[in-house]
Symmetry: C2
Subunit: 361 residues, 2 copies
């Protein structure tokens, strides 16, 4: 088992990464709690809920709620219903919420913990590769119908317990989704990791390689959020690929493509714009080939570019109605840049037609 | 104009108290913001919205939302609708929310600010006496149908701008409501203020006397929240009178009596139980007489005591299903005490019948 430590403004917390550590929760959760509420989804619950319950102990005070899987659950209705459950189960300020699942569960259960009686403890037990990113750094949120993650808090977990054995059951689509965030982190800060991922074939990913990549990705993420927890500066760089990515997710309808698949297209767009703006040669071709070889969906059909721009304008980086994008001057050298509507529209139109040409040629 | 300064864990903020200072907002709000959203209710909006808008300046970026007055607005639907408005008006992370109104507006608008894009700045512009309490200390929340203030955050404002001139338009019912919290603060920490309030007739309250009481009340509140912002210890004392008070409000239906009127009954109950538990002679009689003389509603009719206990158990101080009450060993010496159901039921039944006897005798 590996252990990283993350500093937040309110407290430090450990990230444990290891095999089968879901069976060891009661030792990893040091504090004693009056009761527990495990929040999970239908997919993950069927696989790991019993393990986690038994791992905490035998008690009347261990409750659970299973919600439908998918981004659609990250809404205000689920949020309120989870509060109702927490009250009905008699949770109090000394209770612990356990987020067992992917990013949707982590964001939603974390936001419930952040707001239940003005904040109680929670831990993240991520079960996807994608959630290596969202489980660290304390960003919790639900979606608004107008945009993703627009209602939320900065609220750090008490620990992150990452049992990589649970990743074995992931479908390839979810592995792809997670690796988009890993590539993003590599592009921001680690040329070596970037090259190593480009050498990796997701079809035949080994467990040791996955753990190595996850550990490096979490390390990059941790360094950035420690410097700028509340995203007033450098944490914005973690939005590389997300300005278009979030817009695509909202415009296509949550769940139509995975978050990571949307981020993959967003990363290509960021590289495309970076190469035009800075006349550099980043790695668009290499990344495009790697995404293509690993079967990321890269076609964008029948897109209303103006509607997409409206979605992008609701991005949390937007200031005075002007969209901000993270670009790369070179690998490990991100930069934020502001665009007016016209220029961004030109870039998006050009990018979509370039992408579609490449995919059909 | 008087100025107090409050330290919170994230920043310090000023509380300005003075006459007609609502006309001076642009000078008191130091930072420059990309846009403004004033949240107010129908009553206050009709009186002061124009003053506040003009005081900020002439700009396309000053928006407002007027919601129905009353505790019923402090719910999840209003919360979501305000987020929608904030997005439609194009608010960004450099925008400011202005809570113009009483405690309901302050709590609701503050919670919207705390969660909009994971937190933007807000200021409190309280227009009731009661809100001298809620506007200081950073507690923001909405109600859940099962209990009051159960969904919220600790999130401090950037400043509190308290124009006491706006208090002139308050009906007597609202003055009563505010003075219940002032008496509570006096009981917790200031024997002299307590005696002075008991000498005050609310019918003929002078402006100078009111300012003096508000300043002292805010000072007491500020000292307590600075010591224990997140209510792990001494801040709980500010709940004096609220365990029963919140229960009554929920059980009678929000809006049936004002918050302060419910707290007044709760304070009498806390004094009643304190005198029995500690065999002391606090001031039950004096406080009862003062409430009675100032026409606080002290009758409790047809109350289902078990339903009331269920409501009280949802109090945020409850631990392991056991209700915690704040009692007074003597004035300025609060103490937290845990009760089992049976004992509390006896006390409540005894108290209600005692109160009703006194009121009909």
């Amino acid at each position: 088992m590996k252990k990283l430590s993350i500093k937040s403004s309110s407290h430090s917390y450990p990230v444990y990464i290891g095999e089968n550590i879901r069976f060891n929760l009661s030792n990893l959760v040091r504090k004693s709690y009056s009761s527990f509420l495990i929040i999970t989804d239908e997919n993950v619950g069927g696989l790991y809920l019993d393990d986690v319950k038994q791992s905490i102990g035998i008690s009347d005070n261990i409750h659970h709620v299973v919600i439908p899987a998918g981004e659609q659950s990250k809404n205000i209705q689920s949020f309120y219903a989870l509060h109702t459950k927490a009250m009905e189960y008699g949770l109090d300020r000394n209770s612990l919420i356990i987020a067992l699942g992917g990013g949707v569960i982590g964001d939603l259960a974390g936001f419930v913990a952040a707001t239940f009686m003005r904040g109680i403890d929670y831990i993240q037990v991520p079960t996807t590769i994608l959630a290596h990113d969202s489980s660290v750094g304390g960003k919790v949120a639900i979606n608004h119908e107008l945009g993703k993650n627009l209602i939320g808090n900065f609220y750090s977990p008490r620990s992150v317990i990452y049992d990589v054995t649970t990743l074995h059951t992931l479908p390839l689509k979810e592995i792809r989704s997670g690796y988009a965030e890993l590539i993003k982190e590599a592009l921001l800060a680690d040329q070596e990791l970037f090259q190593d991922i480009l050498q990796t074939n997701l079809d035949s990913l080994s467990n040791s390689k996955l753990i190595e990549h996850l550990k490096k990705g979490i390390h990059i993420k941790a360094k950035i959020v420690e410097q700028d927890e509340r995203e007033t500066g450098s944490r914005k760089y973690l939005n590389l690929g997300h300005t278009l990515g979030h817009g695509l997710e909202a415009e296509l309808g949550y769940g139509a493509i995975t978050h990571g698949e949307a981020v993959a297209i967003g990363l290509l767009f960021a590289l495309y714009v970076s190469e035009k703006e800075f006349s550099n040669n980043l790695a668009f071709e290499n990344v495009f080939h790697w995404f293509h070889r690993n079967q990321y969906p890269l076609h964008i059909q029948n897109m209303d570019v103006n509607a997409l721009l409206d979605r992008m304008r609701l991005d949390k980086k937007t200031l005075m109605q002007r969209i901000q994008m993270i670009l790369l001057k070179k690998i490990s050298e991100p930069q934020i840049m502001e665009f007016d509507n016209y220029k961004l529209e030109q870039y998006i139109t050009g990018f979509i037609s370039y992408l579609n040409d490449r995919m059909t040629s």
